[in-house]
Structures are given as C-alpha cells and as structure tokens.
C-alpha cells in the first residue's frame, strides 16, 4: 500500500506544483476556462430545470418522463465512460513515458497497475462532473431533494465510474494482448471511434424525442408502457437511476438498499477481476506493445496518386508540406478515423431535418420553412466551425516536435500559413455547400433563401477557415500526445467562441435585410429608399466582418509563430 501511495503521489504533486508555480498567463487562461466551464454548467442547469418543470406540468406521465430521462442520461454517461476509459487506459497503462521507470523499480506489478487504473479513473471521469453535475442538481432542485440524494449521487456515481472504468480497462488489456504489437494503439483508437459512431447513430435513430410525443404511439396505453419499460435489469445504470429515483421521490424505498448493494458488489467484483487479469496479461501486453517491427507504408500507390493530384497547384515547397500532411493524415488512424465522426455528424445533421415535424407547427409553412433556413445558416456555420476546430485549428500544431524542420527551412511562414489555408479551402467549401443545400432542399425553401444561404455560407467559410488557421498558429501545441487533444485546449475553445461570434454577427446583420426582402416578395410590397439603405449598410458590414475575419487572425497567427520559442 505504501508503494501504491508513492506511485499515485506524483500526479498530485505535479498538479500542486503547476498551480503554485503557474505564471500570470497560465492563471489567466485557467480563469477564462473556469469561467466558461461555470457558464456552461449554469446554462445546462437552467435548461435541465426547464425541461423537468415542463415534464412536471404533464399529469401522470411527467414523472415517468423524468425517470426515463434520468436512466437514459446514466446509460449515455456509462457508455461514454467506457469509451473514455479505453482510450485513457491505453495511454496510462501502455504509452506513458514514466512507465519504464515504474516497471524498473521493485514495486509489484499489481500496484503499478492499480496506480495506473486510478489515474485512468481520474482522467476519464471529469466529464461526468462537468456534464452530469448540473443535470443532477436540476433534478435535486426541481424535486426538492434532501441530503440523502446528494450522498447517494456521490457514491453511486463513484461506483458507476468504477464499473465503467473496470470494463474499459479490461477491454484495453485484452485488445493490447491480442492485437499485433506496435499497431495496438492505432487499432484501439480506430475501434473506439467506430464504437462512438455506432453509439451516436444508435442513439439518434432511436429518435428519443418521440418519447415526449404521445401522438407517435397508437394508444395511450402503448405510450405509457413504452415509458415505464426499464432498459434492462442487468445494466448497472438502471440500478443507479432506480436507487436515485427512490431517494429523490421517496417511492420504491424497499429496493433502495438492494440496488446500492448490487452496484457496489459489482464495482468491487470488477476491480478484483481487473487485478487478476492484469496479473495474467498486463505485463506481457506492455512488453509486446514496445516491440518495434518494420512497418512499410501501406496503400502507397493510391496515396501517391492522391498526393500528386492535390499538391500540383501549390508549388514545390508548399507541395512538399501538403504531401506530408496528406500522407500523415491517412497513415495515422487517430486522424483519418475522425472522418468517420465527421461523416456521422453530417448524416445525423441532414437526418434531423428530414424528421422535423413542420406540419404540426401553428406557423404558416412557407414562413416557417424560410425562418428555419435562416436558422440553418447559423447551425451549419457552427457545424463547420466544429469541423474546422478538429481539422483546421490543429493544422499548425500537426507539425509536432518536427516543427523545427519548417522553421529552419527556407519556406516563409506567411507562405506556409496561407498554403495550409488554401489546402483546406476546397474541402470546406464543398462540405458547407453540401450541408446547406442538402438541408434547404429538405426544407423546400424558396429560391431566394436557397441562393442567399448558399452565398452566405460560401463566404463565411473563408472567415471560419482563416480563424481556424490563425488561432491554430496563435495557440500552437507542438508537444501533444494525440492530435485530437489539440482542439480541446485553451486556443481551441477560444477559436470556437470567436468563430461562433463571427457566425452570429453575420446572421444577425443579414436577418433584417432578409426579412424586408422576403416580406416584400411575399406580399408584393415595394421597398422604400430607407430600407434599401439599411440593406446596403447591413450587407456592407457583413463584407467588412468577413474580410477582417480572413486577414486579421492569419496576421496575428503569423506574428505569434515568428515569435514562438
């Protein structure tokens, strides 16, 4: 136990030292991130409260809906926790740089394993606090929960994290043990992304929104039974949500203790099984994962062809950068697999428009369609910004610790940045137009709205992209372990905020003129001189914002990169 304590201690010491010795800039960043996190939590709490209060207003089914939602939330968290544990267990148990040191000491294997499992639990479970806490607090607030609820929530959440963690760690250990050495990391990353995409599709295509729409069911009895039906008595999240519901409402108290015992004994059993399995296969897996084997570049001919085709217009030096980026992207499973997530995002986005219940709205159909098309511009812009955060923002950081090669080469940084910009331009424009035209087509909007949306999106892409490249250069991270982490840092969050403001500003400035033009078209009115002036000023402001969004961030990024040390 003494050794276990020693093995866990460096993490806390590191955290304490980082806090105590951080400079002003780091403190400022932590303050901004903390503020944003708090703002997010508050927003989530308010939305959750409104949903639960809305549910309560529906007699008979209100509580059923709230209970069903609680178990769905736990199930979602549980799945995400397993996914997250698979990834972080891989890093903590097999990749971490200090593993060599730990395993070279006389500490017993089980204690090294347990210390790494604790790290994994801590690294993976923070999202439960950020996303879960505001929702559970909303339940407590709306249902007037007593201290028993908070206590149950605390220890049951811990037991759930332990069960999900145990499952995730076991999956990782088995996969590392089974798959060929050196490729394990890539394979696990790929499998995890495929699993996440699968879960996302499953959840979306189940259409959970139908639960709040009794009309979707033939009879009220059918609807009630759909709500009452537990997901499965064998899933731990069901025990946790049932125990919490019992303490929240004071109903079903007789099962409360049973569910708690069931959850904790399961958590304990999984912890013990994990240590047994670790004793049997962990070290062998670790040893195997370090074996370096010759690895030839796969799919070479197809990749060479693609590279030749794309790099042609860019000149020799930029062409070299682009060829390197494409090759790295398609050979790194952690990178290209993100395309699966992107594909899932686009499919579900378009699918959402196909199931919109427009006919049930009290608003005139043509008016609603065009209003939604306008809203769609903002949403599609946000999707593009999210895609850009994942692919464009890390473009500079993607050089990693090999950035010295670019810096010591004769390639000018300005040319380098604009080259990256141009490389992403065509795919982003295509994605933007597919999103906006596809969804507008489903909405059956007017020609005018179709034209306006397409043009607006077209020009907005230039700004979103430049913000991505500029902020990526302004906040580069060349020492990442996994490129996907780059977008989740301070710079990535700031980029999302600034690009959302940019998208919002464009939409708001266009809203007034579009309304005037749309109503004039609908009612056959003539547009007054003052209104024309307003339209021209608004569209000019959109133009100015776009130009600023294109040139300013790249200029700032260029300056930051030049001064980067």
């Amino acid at each position: 136990m003494q050794d276990l304590y020693l093995l866990i201690k460096p993490r806390f010491l590191g955290f304490r030292n980082r806090m105590a010795r951080s400079d002003r800039r780091t403190k400022k960043r932590a303050f901004v991130m903390g503020g944003l996190g708090l703002f997010f939590c508050l927003g989530l709490f308010i939305v959750s409260c409104r949903v639960l209060i809305h549910f309560q207003s529906a007699e008979v089914i209100g509580d059923l809906l709230a209970r069903q939602l609680l178990s769905m939330i736990f199930l979602t968290f549980f799945s995400l926790l397993i996914f997250s544990h698979i990834i972080t267990a891989l890093s903590n148990l097999y990749i971490s740089k200090d593993l060599e040191l730990c395993h070279s000491t006389p500490v017993v294997l089980e204690e090294v394993f347990i210390s790494r499992a604790v790290y994994t639990l801590m690294d993976s479970s923070w999202m439960l606090i950020i996303f879960g806490l505001p929702i559970f607090m909303a339940y407590a607030y709306v249902y007037g929960a007593g201290p028993g609820f908070y206590f149950t929530l605390l220890h049951m959440s811990l037991s759930m994290a332990m069960i999900a963690g145990g499952i995730g760690i076991l999956i990782t250990m088995v996969l590392v043990y089974v798959f060929p050495a050196h490729r394990t990391r890539d394979i696990i990353m790929l499998l995890s992304v495929v699993m996440l995409v699968g879960l996302y599709f499953l959840f979306r295509f189940l259409r959970p929104e139908r639960l709040v729409d009794p009309d979707a069911y033939f009879t009220i009895m059918q609807y009630m039974s759909a709500l009452k039906m537990p997901q499965s008595p064998y899933i731990p999240t069901q025990w946790i949500s049932d125990a919490l519901w019992a303490v929240l409402t004071g109903k079903g108290g007789e099962d409360y203790l049973f569910y708690i015992m069931l959850t904790w004994t399961t958590a304990g059993a999984i912890a013990v099984i994990s240590v047994w399995v670790a004793r049997a296969i962990y070290f062998e897996g670790l040893s195997k994962s370090q074996e370096a084997k010759k690895r030839r570049a796969g799919g070479k001919r197809a990749l060479d062809l693609l590279v030749e085709l794309i790099k042609k217009p860019f000149g020799v030096d930029l062409g070299a950068i682009i060829a390197k980026d494409i090759r790295t992207f398609f050979r790194d499973n952690t990178q290209w697999s993100q395309l699966l997530l992107l594909g899932a995002l686009v499919v579900v986005y378009v699918y959402n428009f196909s199931v919109l219940p427009l006919d049930k709205s009290p608003i005139r159909l043509d008016f609603l369609q065009n209003e939604l098309a306008f809203l769609n511009m903002g949403l599609a812009g946000f999707v593009l910004a999210a895609v850009s955060a994942r692919f464009v923002f890390p473009a500079v950081s993607a050089e990693g610790e090999a950035y010295w090669i670019v810096r010591s080469s004769p390639l000018r940084l300005k040319r380098y940045l604009w080259g990256k910009y141009l490389f992403f331009l065509a795919p982003m424009l295509i994605l933007a137009e597919v999103l906006i035209i596809g969804t507008n087509y489903m909405l059956e909007v007017t020609r005018f709205m179709m034209f306006l949306s397409s043009i607006t999106m077209f020009f907005m892409v230039f700004g979103i992209l430049a913000l991505g490249i500029g902020f990526g250069a302004l906040y580069p991270n060349f020492k990442y372990e996994n490129i996907a982490q780059v977008a989740t840092g301070f710079g990535g969050v700031l980029y999302m905020i600034v690009s959302s403001i940019f998208i919002g500003a464009v939409i708001v400035l266009e809203a007034g003129p579009v309304y005037i033009l749309f109503m004039a078209n609908l009612r056959g009115n003539t547009i007054s001189l003052f209104q024309w002036l307003f339209i021209i000023v608004s569209f000019s402001a959109v133009l100015v914002i776009n130009i600023t969004a294109i040139f300013k961030p790249i200029k700032m990024g260029l300056k930051a990169l030049r001064e980067y040390e």
């Binding site: 390197k324 790295t328 090999a402 670019v406």
Partner: protein
C-alpha cells in the same frame, strides 16, 4: 562565412547568450563547447533560424539571417540534438519532403542523391519503412541525410554524436571532415571533448552565455596554462575542478 556580431538572447530576464562575437572561415570545422546550460543550444537555434535573437546579427554567406531568413536557410543544413521527425512518413518520403522545402525538383538526379545519402548513412534498406519503426540512432542519421541533401555551404550541428553507436559516430566524423574538405563550414556543439579534439580546426568554450576561450586545441592549452588533454583544459577554463576531483560515493 559565418559571423556572429554581439549575438544576445534574453529569456525572461536571463541572458542565455550574452553578446557573442565570432567569425568562422569557410571550410573549417568549428567546435562549440561548454557545460550544461551555457548557451550552446540557444546559440545554435538562433543560427538555424529557429529562435530569434534579442540583439545582434548572424551573417552567413554575407547575408543577414534576420533580414533574409529564406536566403540564409537555403544554404544552411541544420542537425538538431533530438531528431524529431514525421513518424508516419517513410524515410525516402521524408527526404523528398525536405527536398521540396529547399526547392529541389523531383528529378532522377534527386532520387540518385537520396539513394546515395541513404547508403552513405547505412539506411538504404530502411528507405521504404515508416520512420516510426526506426531506432533513435537511425532517426539521427536520417536527419543528417536531410541536412546534407541540398549540399549546404554551412552545416550547423547540435550534439551530433548523441544516440549514435561507435560505428555511426566514426561515420559522422568522417563525413564532417569530407564536407569541410569540400568547402562546407561546420559549426558543431558537442559535449564530447574527444570528438572536438579529433575533428575541429578551432574550438570556442562558452560559459554563462559568454565566450570564455577560443582557438585551436594548442592555443587553448596555452590559454589555460595546463598541459594534457582537452578535458583538463575544459575543466580548468570552466572551473570544473570540483567535478574533476569528485570521488565516488562510498557504499554502505
């Protein structure tokens, strides 16, 4: 060929490099020695254009690095102390990538040069393999191939022997000597006094950001006022007597 004029770098108030002045002739191998944290890597990074100087000038081939970075970099080859490269590229692809950055066209001549360098550094069999499967020493040799690819007039090298086996180290020393004979100026920082004594025409010792001694090994011997090998001269000049006289810890 290389001229450093009042070169200074200040990090958060600390003068890591403090007003260095150096002039190195064409075709010379110049050794840059100093204890840990003396300012060697900072100087080298500034010369490679990876770090910007706080003050002073770096003139290479009569061009100012600050005023014409691309022009200077075109005639410089840089080998850093740690070979960070793009792991997902094959060795040949990496060298083609470097060739692109230095505006070398994809001609049969380039392919020949790449094969020649890979063979020279004994990486011929590994050219088609992904770099992620290379050992540290192989990566280091690949970076050297990359630095020599465009036939630079100046080679800037930071700790070239780290991670190399004796055979690799011998190979690298011979290559540096050959390059110097062909007229390439080599500026090399090293911890290895043997290497410096063996290959360098001239040596400078840096400490606390200042050049404290400069000259050939025999000139330094005179300056230090000690006979013997370069290690003794180095310890004397950097006042490392304590380390030299240190005894091993007694076992309990």
């Amino acid at each position: 060929m290389i001229k450093l004029i009042n070169l200074t770098k200040v990090y958060r108030g600390l003068r890591a490099v403090d007003g260095i002045n150096l002039e190195i002739e064409k075709g010379h191998i110049f050794g840059f020695l100093g204890p840990n944290g003396a300012g060697k890597t900072t100087t080298i990074k500034m010369m490679a254009g990876v770090l910007s100087p706080t003050e002073g000038q770096i003139i290479i081939n009569d061009m100012d690095l600050v005023k014409d970075p691309s022009g200077v970099k075109q005639c410089v080859g840089f080998i850093p102390d740690r070979p960070f490269v793009y792991e997902k590229l094959a060795g040949i692809e990496f060298l083609r990538f470097i060739a692109g950055l230095y505006h070398l066209d994809h001609t049969p001549l380039l392919s020949h040069r790449i094969s020649e360098l890979l063979e020279l550094f004994e990486l011929g069999q590994w050219g088609e393999e992904l770099i992620e499967s290379y050992s540290h020493g192989m990566k280091q040799r690949l970076v050297m191939c990359a630095a020599l690819l465009h036939e630079p007039e100046v080679l800037i090298v930071d700790e070239p022997m780290v991670g190399l086996d004796p055979k690799g180290a011998r190979l690298v020393k011979n290559i540096f000597k050959d390059q110097a004979v062909k007229g390439t100026t080599v500026f090399m920082s090293t911890h290895s006094l043997d290497v410096a004594a063996e290959v360098c025409d001239e040596i400078a010792i840096i400490q606390g950001g200042h050049i404290i001694a400069r000259g050939t090994a025999s000139a330094l011997r005179r300056q230090a006022g000690v006979g013997g090998n370069l290690e003794q001269i180095f310890l004397k000049l950097t006042e490392g007597k304590g380390l030299a006289n240190a005894r091993p810890l007694s076992s309990h």
